[in-house]
């Protein structure tokens, strides 16, 4: 991969990020002219307190001054202070980041593996009962809101069978450290992870299936067969590697979106991640926190785009020039 290709992609991503940061400012300051007023929501607060709050958030300055202040602070990694918790926004986000990364990471790995296997088997045995079932399941999960799937799993496994905990990341009275603590955490992770895995595997299965079907029409598979290779070998060595590319790209690309897609699911399972943080920020009209979260979610998509582009360039030499 040429340095120029990498350089162009990296610069493009940085420009996108800057555009998003600017967009983020206007989204909140222009649309909402008086954040303090909406924060207090008509509560009876003396005017001097209001004025002090406005000064504290820099809202008594002109829009242009506010903009430069915002840009300087963001560049230094200062995303402001959360209205609700009073802590820096970066600290609140940092605390919630890992639970989400754990959850999203594990469910991405699982849904990718299951989706790929489903798609490969579906395409290889097209129109078989497995293909029909797999396509049906994929379409069904695509049409299901993931938080509703979460509610169903919660009702069945946690409240009816009482097999798994109903929410949170660990039991409040759990012992610290040791095997039992680990098992406790795994039990809490199980349901939200299952929800997201089922939610995304169908999409990956459909993409893998169609890209493998496309490859299956290619001449090099006929050549491989003509050489007398066994069916399984043709599939494993020749068909699947060539069909992987679109799916791998989709999975990496999706990674950025999955991070924010988990918002509603985290709410269902009281999972203390970025999603729940977003939900409380919305509930409390905590605009600095919401602004920071929006930036993080968008940055994740831009980063995922970059990784996906570079991966594509690495895996498919034709792209590097274009």
């Amino acid at each position: 991969m040429s340095l120029r290709f990498v350089g162009r992609k990296v610069v493009g991503s940085i420009l996108s990020l800057i555009a998003v940061i600017i967009f983020n400012f206007f989204l909140f300051r222009i649309v909402k002219s008086d954040p303090v007023g909406s924060l207090l929501r008509g509560r009876n607060v003396p005017p001097d307190v209001k004025a002090r709050l406005r000064h504290q958030f820099g809202l008594d300055k002109s829009k242009i001054d506010q903009f430069w202040l915002y840009m300087r602070q963001t560049a230094r990694g200062n995303l402001g202070v959360s209205i609700q918790s009073g802590r820096p926004v970066t600290e609140d986000i940092g605390n919630s980041l890992w639970p989400t990364i754990w959850l999203v990471g594990l469910s991405t790995v699982l849904s990718t593996i299951i989706g790929l296997l489903m798609g490969i088997k579906s395409a290889w045995q097209r129109n078989s009962w497995f293909d029909r079932l797999s396509t049906g399941v994929s379409m069904f999960t695509y049409a299901t809101p993931d938080f509703f799937l979460g509610i169903l799993l919660l009702a069945f496994f946690a409240f009816t069978l009482k097999l798994l905990p109903t929410g949170g990341i660990e039991s409040p009275t759990g012992s610290t450290g040791g095997i039992s603590h680990l098992i406790d955490q795994a039990k809490h992770l199980a349901l939200p992870c299952l929800t997201l895995t089922i939610g995304y595997m169908g999409e990956y299965a459909i993409v893998m299936r169609s890209s493998l079907l496309e490859v299956m029409g290619e001449d090099f598979l006929k050549v491989a067969r003509a050489r007398g290779l066994r069916d399984a070998l043709v599939r494993r060595r020749h068909a699947v590697p060539n069909a992987m590319l679109p799916t791998v790209t989709l999975v990496t690309l999706n990674l950025g979106f999955v991070l924010s897609g988990a918002i509603a699911v985290e709410t269902v399972f009281s999972w203390p991640g970025l999603g729940q943080l977003t939900e409380t920020a919305v509930h409390n009209q905590d605009f600095p926190l919401l602004q920071g979260l929006f930036l993080i979610f968008t940055a994740a998509v831009i980063l995922a785009n970059l990784v996906s582009d570079l991966l594509y360039g690495y895996l498919d030499p034709r792209v590097r020039v274009g």
Binding site: P145, F148, L152, V282, L293
Partner: protein, 306 residues
Amino acid sequence: MTVAPPTARKTSGRAIVRARRRKAVAKVWATYRRSPQGMVGLVVLVVIVVLALAAPLLSSSKGLDVTYTSKNPQFAHPSLKFLFGTDDLGRSVWTLFIWGARISLFVGLAATIIAVGLGAGVGVIAGYAGGRTEAVLMRITEFFLVIPFIPFAVVLASVLHRSLTNIILVIGITSWPGTARLIRAQVLSVKERLYVDRSRALGAGHWHLVSRHILPNVMPLIFANLTLTVPIAILSESTLSFLGLGDPLRISWGVILQNAFQSDAVSLHAWWYYLAPGLGIIFVALAFTMCGRALEEVLDPRLKDI
């Protein structure tokens, strides 16, 4: 040598075009009818749309108002009196369900029309105009493509006032970039066709070229895209409403799910409360997806093999 009067020739020309269009639609329908998934999807849609339109006949909207339902039992199991049981406020879930269908379908369709209208507009202009206009429009499209949908919608919905109109606007303006890219690609290929060149050589203006040659050729794609965007819009509405960003006074399926979750229907084993709206969303989204896929197959026979 007699020359037909220009007006007569014009009308007959239009009549020919109209007859050809009618024939094309009849042909599409004939192929569509043979797709089992398309027909199943269509039947499900018709049933739900009829149910939604007939809501006032099936159950009085007074059933949505808690002041009229205070005498009803709370969390009552499904029975003959309450087909789908009752909610935490004694309202019949059946009443909520059919009235919710109206809101969910309305939001889904209205948001889709905005999204596809915007996307098709940007796509056609970018594809047809080319040059700098195209570059600028596609940059904007790419920018909106990296904005993650749910956080953006959450932010917009929380800075704006919570109303049905705003929910529709939020979903509409966050879902157009995909359509814009798709339509632009199609316009680029249609633009290069010979009959467009011929028409241009004969002195046709931009408006004539776009409305008579480009649009009729991308219309089927726009229509298929429309059908596939509705389920996404309905799912988005349910997610936003579930997060508490919907219009609290307009009960959609998403709002029912939020109410059910907030009132602990899950831990109280009141499965009827959340099952009805949830399954409603699934069936409508599935039906639209099936119709859209069947339409795509009809319009692009190559997809049949995939």
